[in-house]
Symmetry: C2
Subunit: 674 residues, 2 copies
């Protein structure tokens, strides 16, 4: 081994050497956060983040390994630094709040190699008072045109001990794991968002924004709280291949003293580009019912046969129910040819235009229309995009013709399970979060947008805020949803949703499909009280929400069902009133179309009394609070159905004590009175 390698050699376990060049610095608008970029004695670029003078992200490396060129990791100098300020406010067509403020300082650092190649790489930081985002920009230059990335060497060195809430990035599955809570030193390879809380109480969520035509980033534990980007692999090429000039996704850190501060943090949206679709008034938030839960109860099947769920007759029943109770959408799964016995292993037989004979799609679309309801389309691909992509155009054309303006897509496939068509015509198997899927996912959304169709992706490519740029990308799954309560081993525990709010939900809306008022899964109980099922419509943000239970179960519970009928899915304001990761959370949201507010609170396996000031309500205004709370002796194990529904008049001066049962919750509608 040779001397000049020494600091790389030992990097796994030693501190960085002394620095050679004057650091580039930028602080957030109010000075809370400061980012410093330096190159060390070997010309290795590193950044760090201070908060109120304290280092929270220690010296962390920047760089790339290429598969067709020497890596860019050291021998750099800072050739140029540009800082600019921006403070704008923009409006969401739909969302958890109407107006979003984007107030940041941007620092662009040009790194240029001192070696013969003299290549340049820009790293651009945007520093907000409550978070930091940065990305790499590859300029147009002769020495690096065909950029083939073997690995991104970005580090995130957490300063000091912390606890992490995370799911692993393994090969067994996509995102559908229970969230683990460990010391950050016990994280292996984590998916993002990964949320941590330092021992002194600071919350940081690591994720990315505007991930397009690039591989998803996972976080590898390098030891001692230091994480490194590990991009999702491509099975037979570089992890990422792009033509310069281009920019990587933003690497993001949402930073807050409180857990709730992460939820109301707009960093991810602000780092995405504005709406590229023009007039998107055709994208309507809505609620829906559908032929879905009955399959998870094993009462009916996706595939043809005696138990087939998507029959004309059965779907009519759902349409009638939707019309009667004011739901816009009716989802129908298992409507199309191809659900063979091992469909999930290959998806090769799927037709996306050919309905099963017992499903009269034309008649049902017409019937729905006449009832003021719309069918919701379904494209389950089993991850076989080689079969799906050639049919996509025709499939969306069919839906457009039938007035079906929302489609649920599905990619039930693990790592190595995404079937693609290779350039040579052969079949390939790719990873779920690789560059190929980032392209495919956006292609689907663009194809749909051409026909004014909204997309709700399940087993999706990870959400990085692209809904701002493509507002027809209304929702996704991307975590363990309600179906795991039907048959999951273990089922989602009571803490699950209190984990989701501070992890998965930071990425964007989730189509969790709540509202199982029967509280019964497939031979196992739902780990929730009835009031909690109502609260989820407020706690878990999505512009589309399903009333997932069977119609007969709602008919049998009309009083609590009223809240599901009332609750909107589009908001002008959102406030997190209290909350701790994995324990509990209370969120209040204001209806986008009225002066009404809605509140949802959920807890884990522990009952709680949450003293909750109503100061979010308009001062002086009187509201009729329609309260759906855990009833006498309610408990998710022994007495989940005990619910109390009551009304009282309140003002912003009042404080409510929300009594949540173990595994319970509470939902309140605040009707603004004249």
């Amino acid at each position: 081994m040779i001397g000049r390698f020494l600091s790389i050699v030992a990097a796994g376990f030693i501190a960085a050497p002394a620095f050679a060049q004057t650091p580039a610095k930028v602080s957030s608008p109010d000075g809370t956060l400061t980012v410093t970029v330096e190159v060390n004695g070997e010309g290795r670029p590193e950044y760090q983040v201070q908060r109120s003078g304290r280092t929270i992200i220690d010296r962390s490396r920047l760089g790339f390994i290429f598969t067709n060129a020497p890596k860019m990791e050291r021998n750099f100098e800072i050739a140029d630094v540009q800082v600019r300020a921006a403070d704008t406010t923009w409006e969401q067509p739909w969302g958890e709040r109407r107006f979003v403020r984007d107030n940041h300082r941007e620092m662009r650092v040009r790194l240029t190699e001192k070696t013969a190649l003299k290549r340049s790489l820009d790293v651009v930081f945007r520093v907000f008072d409550d978070g930091v985002g940065f990305r790499y920009e590859f300029p147009d230059q002769a020495a690096l045109k065909d950029v083939r990335i073997g690995e991104e060497l970005t580090e995130f060195a957490v300063a000091g001990p912390a606890t992490a809430w995370w799911i692993p990035a393994l090969q067994w599955n996509r995102e559908e794991y229970l969230y683990g809570k460990t010391a950050i030193t016990e994280v292996g390879l984590a998916q993002t968002p990964m949320t941590i809380r330092t021992d002194d109480g600071l919350h940081i969520a690591f994720h990315e924004a505007a991930l397009t035509d690039y591989a998803g980033m996972n976080l590898l534990n390098e030891g001692k709280g230091r994480f490194r980007a590990m991009l999702t692999q491509a099975s037979e090429g570089p992890k990422v291949q792009r033509a310069a000039p281009f920019a990587t996704p933003w690497r993001t850190m949402q930073i807050s003293d409180t857990a709730g501060g992460l939820v109301t943090n707009d960093l991810i949206l602000n780092l995405n580009e504005p709406n590229k679709l023009g007039d998107v008034s055709w994208v309507e938030p809505f609620k829906y019912v559908g032929v879905w839960w009955e399959m998870h109860l094993d009462k009916s099947s996706w595939g043809a046969g005696p138990k087939h769920g998507a029959t004309t007759q059965n779907v009519k029943r759902y349409i009638d129910f939707a019309a009667k109770h004011g739901f816009r959408g009716v989802l129908v799964e298992g409507w199309n040819e191809g659900w063979n016995d091992d469909w999930f292993a290959n998806g090769e037989d799927f037709s996306f235009t050919k309905p099963y004979p017992d499903f009269d799609i034309e008649a049902l679309a017409a019937y729905a229309k006449q009832k003021g309801v719309r069918l919701i389309g379904h494209h389950e691909t089993a991850g076989n995009i080689a079969v799906y992509e050639p049919q996509m155009g025709a499939a969306f054309d069919l839906y457009e013709r039938l007035g079906i303006d929302a489609v649920k897509t599905g990619y039930v496939a693990d790592a190595g399970g995404i079937q693609v068509r290779r350039p040579d015509g052969g079949i390939g198997f790719e990873w779920h979060e690789g560059q190929i899927m980032s392209r495919h996912s956006l292609d689907v959304v663009k194809e749909a947008a051409k026909r004014k169709i909204a997309i709700n992706a399940h087993e999706p490519f990870k959400d990085t805020g692209l809904r701002r740029t493509y507002p027809n990308w209304v929702s996704r799954e991307g975590a363990r949803g309600m179906e795991f309560n039907a048959w999951g081993q273990p089922p989602n525990p009571p803490e699950h949703e209190a984990n989701l709010v501070f992890t998965r939900m930071l990425a964007g809306p989730m189509d969790f499909t709540p509202g199982i008022l029967s509280l019964e899964g497939r031979g196992q109980p739902i780990q929730s009280t009835m009031a909690k099922q109502l609260a989820l419509y407020v706690v878990l943000y999505s512009p589309i929400h399903m009333a997932a239970d069977l119609p007969e179960h709602y008919e049998a519970n009309l009083k609590p069902f009223q809240f599901i009928k009332d609750v909107p899915t589009d908001w002008s304001e959102t406030r997190v009133l209290n909350g701790e990761i994995g324990d509990y959370v209370t969120i209040a949201r204001k209806d986008r179309k009225s002066e009404d507010w809605y509140l949802g609170a959920v807890t884990d396996e522990n009952g709680r009394a949450l003293s909750t000031p109503l100061s979010f309500l308009a001062p002086g205004k009187r509201y009729r609070a329609q309260i759906y709370r855990d009833g006498e002796g309610a408990d998710y194990k022994s007495n989940p159905k005990s619910i109390a529904i009551e009304e009282r008049i309140v003002t912003s001066a009042d404080t409510l004590t929300l009594n949540l049962a173990a595994g319970g919750g509470q939902a309140i509608r605040f009707v603004a009175l004249r």
Copy 2:
């Protein structure tokens, strides 16, 4: 998400479901270890390991993801099970012991898919009393001929809490990290060998054997002590591409109650194939000196110029010194054209046949021969095998002609730093432990063998025991060697060698280059006493050892130098008398050519008195013990050069107390008396 996925879905955090088929079982010859292979309700194959009835490796998955075919992970049934016994003893041409016993039970389990493809995969376990090895064998079958592996899904689930000694598998560097000691739950992505000690005192070393034409295996922490294979990536292809039929490397677990038991464990060698080179009497263990340490002291340079080290005059000095003191070899680095200023960044200028003008290779080879000494060749590639491979044949021809029968190769390049020639003629950048390097490394050894040349690889591809099959592969680096004491920040700490013995050294011989009696690095002291420098020749096994210090430093320390002159590098027996990972170790080895024994003991930063029975000596025989011990007040910090050299007569009935200073050691030669 769909129900049938549930157990994969939740696998990250739940126990495996009930099993469906009767398990296949095999026990080691004396019954200590038992391996069980089962397929669960989903047809997922899993194995576990019991030791004396206690589970030590919990249910762990087996399988593969392919880039050109559906993965093989579940839907299997056990189609056939064959068990056979073997008990043989074979002789090493050279080694740490002459005779090696291979006593195991083998279980071959044929797994066949129940799905349409009906593909088969064999998993073959060899169970020894002190370890387990298993590998996959891909049979010749129509449905899987071109095997392109995206990932190997092999798991190692450690049952119960344990401590791990490991180095990270990052992109910064190859193997040259300091060993970390953490809870196994704090391992991120580890290189192998990774050694663990369970809280109840069992030692397990995870590694692999017979790694040829495959990617190196790293271990990813999945959480809760569960590790999964993560193969080193190929930059623009599948991680591994092979034509069936073929077998993977063996995945190995060396298992022992004592740390020392790992060192005397022959599992890795036994799982490699016998010598394929025929008569290898031409492979001679030896000791050598050379033009090397002076570069690390910055007294001379590799490249041409005023400080050039490899001058005819300077090398003559080393030849004379070697002849005078009985060293067979003289290594000369920096002898060839191409050591330009940033050679380590590309290696593009290297010639492997063109000496610098001031290095008369012909005259020196002749001069050496006449003095009864041989030059040792040097091929530093900087990882640029695109430049090296075309020159390799001619380079070895040159050495053969000059009677140079040992070559030190070098691959100073990190991940993404191995430059290869793509099939299309372009340049590519590959990982250090990928399939391409496994091929290259063996190609070099075979090319050398054709000319009766031995290979000592630095910055090598990991050692997996191939020295058994190719005995001219005499040694490697593959860890932080002595040069880190010259300039390392930090330098190797006193515990370093006590870590190496129980981790890196389990893979095979290491060319550590000890013997720095001056105890001086480049402006920093060696973290060692003088006695410890001597002990390393016994403690660290290698058939070739360097006396790495400058000739003048040896001339100034002739008394301690005597041990370095005496100590052999080939042994008939090896005993570990005591030791704990990272703390201390005492090893006794018997000279292959005489009745003499040699003992080496080293400690970490703590001084120790090790009571050491000499029962390894031949009963009744008298030996003159030539003892080189830490002297009065010796201490690696304050008084490293204090050494006491004394003689006494001992027998196997005696017990010596080895008094080791802080950072110290002891070396003893036991001369068998008539």
